[in-house]
């Protein structure tokens, strides 16, 4: 199978590899996929609570080259976006950008799921914090 130049570039030079502190209230973590299916993506965002802008995004992926490229690209796109803008990222955007063949579309779906899971985790944390805040205040 031939890979697109963009997939190869992300595979050879993955952007934003790493982990953020899961316990940080401003960090949202999404982990999707399953080892027995051959891909697991962990995607994390760090949101500025004042502005609602994603300041940092990190990933780690177990999966094929296209899965690695999809998550690497997702972290690039997430940085600087608001939480709501992030939720608007569609798997088809990733498919188009990376020129993924039909058999690799599930990689882009997984990346979209990972974004949504990370944002949801952040939102749950911040809601929990804001409801908890008055009590402790």
């Amino acid at each position: 199978m031939a890979y697109s130049d963009k997939v190869l570039d992300h595979y050879n030079n993955p952007r934003n590899v790493g982990s953020l502190d899961k316990k940080d209230p401003n960090v949202g973590t999404g982990m999707v996929g399953a080892p027995e299916c051959g891909d697991v993506m962990k995607l994390q965002v760090k949101v500025n609570p004042e502005t609602g802008i994603i300041e940092e995004a990190k990933f780690k992926t177990f999966g094929c080259g296209s899965a690695i490229a999809s998550s690497s690209l997702a972290t690039e796109w997430l940085k600087g976006k608001s939480v709501d803008e992030a939720l608007a990222i569609k798997n088809t955007d990733i498919v188009n950008e990376l020129a993924l063949p039909p058999v690799k579309i599930h990689c882009s779906v997984l990346a979209e799921d990972a974004i949504k899971a990370a944002i949801l985790d952040y939102k749950e944390k911040s809601t929990a914090n804001s409801t908890a805040a008055p009590v402790s205040a």
Partner: protein
């Protein structure tokens, strides 16, 4: 050293230049049909075919009259199974095979099941070998054939063929073996192993593609087959069709060379294979060898690199031609059924790489491959959320994964 490096000798082998040389005249001036009985063109072709038959028979301890030429091992397997099922239908309809057989056996069995046969698929033990007691228990008075491969195409494990042959003989059941990966690599003897039918292929042993053979025992017992291709009645009526003379010459020459060089090749390759294995094991943790090392082809190594997905590993070592059990590299999007049959778990099947060394593999190539694999696995583990979790002390089996 030239790249890419070919370490996929189980998929196919390059032709030995001596084989090519032997074949060349038969693409040119010596073009006769070996079935033409009344002129010298036919006689010359027939002479070449009979020499090939002799060379093949000699390598496996058979008589040359017991060799039926086919287009390759897939056809040989089809002919053996379907031919026996049809010929011995009155005796019984039960066939025994193993879960780790090649698709040419498994899919043929599936078709026979649709036509009314009963097939038992013996499981394998974690080392990849069948349990002989399970085989004994599976044989019934309806059993007509046992088909167990000599050596596995993915994990290279060698089944206890001689014991299986003895059990079949004792119970009066025919024994077929798909010996595609074994013939020419390790000693195979149809008499000592009590084999009744044996499939082999040219292109897995430095011969040409498109030619293979089926050994069909002629006495003790005389095995009969119902032909699956009808026509001029070639090959004792078992396989019609004008013979592939250049292919047969090449297959014969490949067998002759194997007979002369097998022992030295095997010794050299097992040394190189162990060198590759030892280097990888010394540098990487959480590496698992699939299948027993004790009963294994000398040139095979199949390793799972836990927490690294196979296709991404292949991408990183793209100047080394190997194959993976990862679903991403297969047409079906299913991980290797052979590794699954070992009970390794899908995750380890996705992480596996098969190395197949061969006659033209050098020490320099093996060292390069080892180094490259180590480097890429380390890089991909840095990227792996699973490796991170394990290093944090998390037991992955306790995580609720959302399968997709």
């Amino acid at each position: 050293m030239k790249t890419p490096i070919y370490l996929d000798y189980h998929a196919t082998t390059p032709m030995d230049p001596r084989v090519l040389e032997a074949m060349l005249p038969y693409f040119g001036p010596v073009f006769g049909n070996s079935a033409s009985r009344n002129h010298s063109f036919g006689w010359e072709a027939e002479e070449a075919v009979e020499k090939g038959r002799e060379q093949i028979a000699k390598l496996i301890g058979a008589n040359k009259k017991e060799i039926v030429f086919t287009s390759g091992a897939t056809e040989s397997n089809n002919l053996a199974l379907k031919g026996v099922a049809e010929m011995y239908a009155e005796k019984g309809n039960h066939i025994i095979t193993a879960a780790t057989e090649h698709k040419a056996i498994l899919d043929t069995c599936k078709r026979l099941e649709k036509q009314g046969c009963k097939v038992t698929y013996l499981p394998v033990q974690p080392d990849g070998l069948i349990d002989l007691d399970a085989l004994r228990e599976a044989i019934t008075d309806k059993t007509i054939l046992v088909s167990i491969m000599y050596a596995n195409n993915e994990i290279g494990v060698i089944q206890p063929i001689r014991e299986i042959g003895a059990i079949c003989k004792e119970r009066g059941v025919l024994f077929h073996t798909d010996a595609t990966q074994a013939v020419g690599k390790i000693p195979v003897d149809v008499i000592a192993d009590k084999i009744d039918l044996l499939s082999l292929s040219g292109h897995k042993m430095y011969g040409p593609k498109g030619v293979g053979a089926l050994y069909v025992r002629r006495k003790g017992p005389r095995v009969q087959l119902t032909a699956q291709i009808d026509g001029g009645g070639h090959e004792r009526g078992m396989r019609s069709g004008t013979l592939n003379v250049p292919g047969i010459v090449g297959l014969g020459k490949a067998c002759e060379l194997a007979q002369q060089e097998m022992e030295a090749d095997a010794k050299r390759l097992s040394g190189l294979r162990d060198r590759l294995k030892d280097r990888i094991l010394a540098e990487l943790d959480e590496v698992y060898i699939n299948g027993t090392m004790e009963h294994r082809l000398p040139h095979n190594l199949n390793i799972s690199f836990a927490y690294v997905e196979g296709e991404s590993l292949l991408m990183g070592i793209n100047e080394i031609a190997v194959s993976s059990g990862s679903a991403c590299t297969s047409a079906t999007l299913e991980p290797s059924y052979i590794l699954k049959a070992l009970g390794a778990g899908d995750d380890l099947a996705h992480s596996s790489i098969r190395f197949g060394l061969g006659r033209f593999t050098t020490e320099e190539e093996v060292d390069y491959a080892a180094e490259k694999v180590i480097q890429v696995v380390k890089k991909l583990r840095e990227l792996s959320p699973l490796y991170e979790l394990v290093k944090e002390g998390v037991d992955l089996s306790t995580i609720q994964w959302a399968a997709h």
